[in-house]
Amino acid sequence: MSERILDIKNLEINFHTYAGDVKAIRDVSFHLDKGETLAIVGESGSGKSVTTKSLMGLLANNAEVVGGSIMYHDQDILKKSEKEMQSIRGKDIAMIFQDPMTSLDPTMKIGQQIAEPLIKHKKMEKKKAWAQALDILKLVGIVNPEKRINEYPHQFSGGMRQRIVIAIALVCYPEVLIADEPTTALDVTIQAQILDLMKELQSKIETSIIFITHDLGVVAGMADRVAVMYAGKIVEYGTVDEIFYNPQHPYTWGLLNSMPTLSSTLLEAIPGTPPDLLDPPKGDAFAARSAYAMKIDVEKQPPFFKVSDTHYAATWLLHPDAPKVTPPSEIVRRQKLFSQMNANKSVRA
């Protein structure tokens, strides 16, 4: 097994609001190994961004970590002071934000914005930091970097700005890179370029990536492993093949079913809306929207059932006593492909 970099255990985060405590993250556990890309998938409000902000120690003021631990190597990030976090942020764990149009300081030259983490973390002199900033600008594919390093963000297009944001995140060669929907604000051709760039840089810099998205299409090409989040919980996780071709949780089915494929004629939307996390449901949070819900789903939280060594899903459907159900036809098609793939593998082995 490769080296474990991040190990998140039983993380619980509440947001204090006037209406009461919103239980945004409910008992979330996952891990990240060296060099891999973990995608966290889920709809808006499922807690993807909150989870990653807690990794950076960048939670909003009204957020409170109620329980759990975030182990970065052998140190618990949740126990670190703000000062200690400052020396981790940008150096060991860096982040790419969603909207490149607003995430650069409009009044500062991009050279300085890229050099800042170096000056802060590596105690570099300005001149040396700028030289390194120039190198990383070349690396992220900015044309004519010698000139452009002196320009301001408004002189760049959206895709170029996201390259700069990536350059800022990578300039200290972080161990972990958190990408919070890095391509959502970009148009599709630029999206592909940015994703290719991230993959290319990942192998060059040897960083591990946590990739947050609601776009399953992006996940397929990027991730090694996928965790599906719903209503503040991880409902299923596994390798990218396992999640795409052998999904077990009805929510994952719904997500895949709502994703266009070459053969699909009609896209199925998941009915209903996510539950109110001020007062989260007792059982499986997805039960109210699931056509496969059983009585126990509304009564009791399902534990994780093991599907394979790498694949777990929190649904009562996997309980030995559960009735056999037939997933949507698209999922059945995928599962067939999956067993073929496995058959091929075992033949080859």
């Binding site: 942020r89 934000f97 607003t102």
Partner: protein, 309 residues
């Protein structure tokens, strides 16, 4: 850039010309005459005086004569202070006013930025509330009240600074504070509002994600971006303060120009009114140009074309 500047200077001159024209005719519409005891004067005396000061000529001619004089740098002679040229009247008194106004502005803006930033950083805490209350007090307490309080407690009771009069720097401290509290409060409000917005922006979050310290974030990223709305305020405010404050100058018996201006209006001292108005307008147009240039320095997005670096 040079073309732009030439154009701007042309518009400035045009503006000043319009101000001079409008002020001149408005002034002539004011009731009364420059003579304080007209009822005791004989018609002949009045005629002689009018002739002496050129007031017997038709208004349009007076206007042309005035403009002509102004082109040669001659602002006329004060009625009030017999035979004192207005330019001398202004130049001998503007120094004190300008120094005081400038000091007050520097004091106010400097501390206003600090207080406004502290309030924004500690938004919705008691510190923020305290700063807000202080700036409301600073804005709503008239500066003459503050001036008298400063004189009584700091000058009279503690004896740290002179009560009044005009001498060295120590004489300027209390009037500077009294005059600077207004801009201080205003600056604090502007900076707080601006910075609260800026601190919620994505690029501040990115700056935090870089691992910068709180101070580093505010100093390197938030401050500059919050200054932009303030620049608009500071320019005209500075000119207003530097061209004299009647109340403060009176209370601290400072030989400034503020009192002069008010007196000139009540006594229909036409050349002095014109002189001070033109001084104020000239200051304003220059400051507006400077403001536009400073804008470009602070925010590269509004940098003038051809001025990019």
């Amino acid at each position: 850039m040079r073309k732009y500047l030439l154009k701007r200077v042309f518009y400035m001159v045009l503006t000043l010309f319009l101000v001079a024209t409008i002020t001149f005719f408005l002034m002539k519409l004011m009731p009364g005459t420059p003579y304080s005891n007209q009822e005791k004067m004989t018609p002949q005396q009045i005629r002689i005086m009018n002739e002496q000061y050129g007031l017997n000529k038709p208004v349009w001619l007076q206007y042309l004569i005035y403009l002509g004089g102004m082109l040669h740098g001659d602002l006329g002679t004060s009625f009030q202070y017999s035979n004192q040229p207005v330019s001398y009247l202004i130049s001998s008194r503007i120094g004190a006013s300008a120094q005081l106004g400038f000091q007050a502005m520097v004091f106010g803006v400097f501390f206003g930025i600090i207080i406004g930033s502290i309030a924004a950083i500690n938004r919705n805490t008691w510190i923020d509330t305290l700063c807000t209350i202080l700036s409301i007090i600073g804005k709503s307490v008239p500066n003459f009240v503050l001036a008298v309080l400063l004189q009584f407690y700091i000058a009279l009771k503690l004896g740290w600074f002179p009560i009044a009069d005009w001498g060295g720097f120590s004489y300027t401290v209390l009037p500077t504070i009294a005059l600077g509290v207004g801009p201080l409060a205003e600056t604090a409000r502007f900076i707080r509002t601006g910075m609260v917005d800026v601190l919620n922006s994505d690029y501040i979050e990115l700056a935090r994600a870089k691992g910068l310290t709180k101070f580093g974030i505010v100093y390197h990223h938030a401050l500059r971006n919050s200054l932009i709305p303030l620049v608009t305020l500071i320019g005209p405010y500075t000119v207003a303060l530097m061209t004299g404050s009647m109340v403060i100058e009176n209370i601290f018996s400072i030989p400034g120009i503020g009192e002069q201006f008010v007196k000139s209006i009540t006594t229909n001292d036409y050349p002095t009114i014109m002189g001070v108005t033109m001084l104020f307008s000239a200051g304003l147009v220059v400051v507006i140009l400077l403001t536009d240039i400073v804008y470009g320095i602070i925010d590269p997005r509004i940098r003038l074309s051809g001025n990019g670096d």
